[in-house]
Symmetry: C2
Subunit: 193 residues, 2 copies
């Protein structure tokens, strides 16, 4: 469990034994049930989360009550409402567990303290946020320039383990299409094989 996080961090930076102890002493191990929320729209997102196992969805409910899925997160991914977390203002998004989910919780205070005690964590977070930004920008372009079928194929490639784990209507919401249209795409793909 600790090793899962440390192995992940060591892909980007090296921590001494002492730094590892400091880091692990400042974060909390938590288990959430399926359906529980890490963050609710309107609350302040007080933590960033490193997922050890399970899956979450980040979504936004618009004025008409319609749910829009921004992202899914699975084991070895980070999740948070970044806008809310960095400015400690009310969250735009909900993050809900789609499965029983085990994670490490990095509170705002812990992260700020860790940046001071272990300055190279700045480098670590800088690098993972850069990657998240690249993924986010690619998604904007895909939504403009690719057909729903092409976006579905990229989704399958980006989240190879997830499709069996989550309901179809959520995948449709993530792709910005109806559930019926997603079924149509899938049967077209089967026929063309």
């Amino acid at each position: 469990m600790n090793n899962q996080l440390l192995n992940y961090i060591h892909k980007y930076i090296s921590l001494t034994d002492e730094e590892q102890i400091i880091l692990l002493s400042r974060i909390k191990h938590r288990k959430y049930l399926k359906g529980q929320y890490l963050v609710q729209q309107g609350d302040i997102c007080k933590s960033e989360y490193f997922i050890l196992s399970g899956a979450t969805k980040t979504f936004y409910v618009d004025a008409e009550g319609q749910e829009h899925i921004v992202m899914f997160s699975i084991e070895n991914w980070w999740t948070s409402d970044m806008g809310s977390f960095i400015s400690q203002t009310p969250a735009d998004y909900n993050i809900q567990c789609l499965e029983p989910t085990e994670l490490f919780q990095f509170s705002y205070e812990a992260v700020e303290e860790l940046y001071i005690k272990i300055p190279k964590l700045e480098r670590f977070f800088r690098k993972i946020i850069e990657r998240a930004l690249v993924a986010s920008q690619k998604r904007i372009v895909r939504n403009f320039s690719l057909s729903a079928k092409e976006r579905y194929l990229i989704f399958k490639k980006s989240y190879p383990q997830i499709e069996q784990r989550i309901p179809q209507y959520m995948i449709a919401s993530y792709l910005g299409i109806t559930k019926e249209f997603l079924s149509k795409i899938k049967s077209q793909l089967i026929q063309s094989q």
Copy 2:
């Protein structure tokens, strides 16, 4: 010119006089003409750019030759093809000057060297990339959940100085709508005033 950059950086971190000298010695001041490219799709994006004056568009040309505008950047903004820059692989996007543009160029080698010489720049870039990620995620949600008219109003608010500076068809491309539909939205807005 140097002060414009240093004032911007000092909003996030403090640099000593010596650090300011190191920083300024590693970056290049450049002027580009209207129409020139900072990065071309398929080339490696070798630098990150801090814009002192002028404006750029970041765009993607799809297989059908259609142009999709990902973002505009103006004075005191950063621009680069982040995915290409961090991995030094071919760029997905073009960045072209919409006006004569003056900027500071941070080459990949300079940035890597600066992170070693001035480690607190990790914090600076971590913070500005966090903000860019928040903006990018908000744009994804807006594209799903808001009407073109609402997205146009947010565009006007986000880029208050830019609308008079760039052609309408580019704003339409950024919003993912046709130029004709943008005209319709604008005349509806005028009538409803």
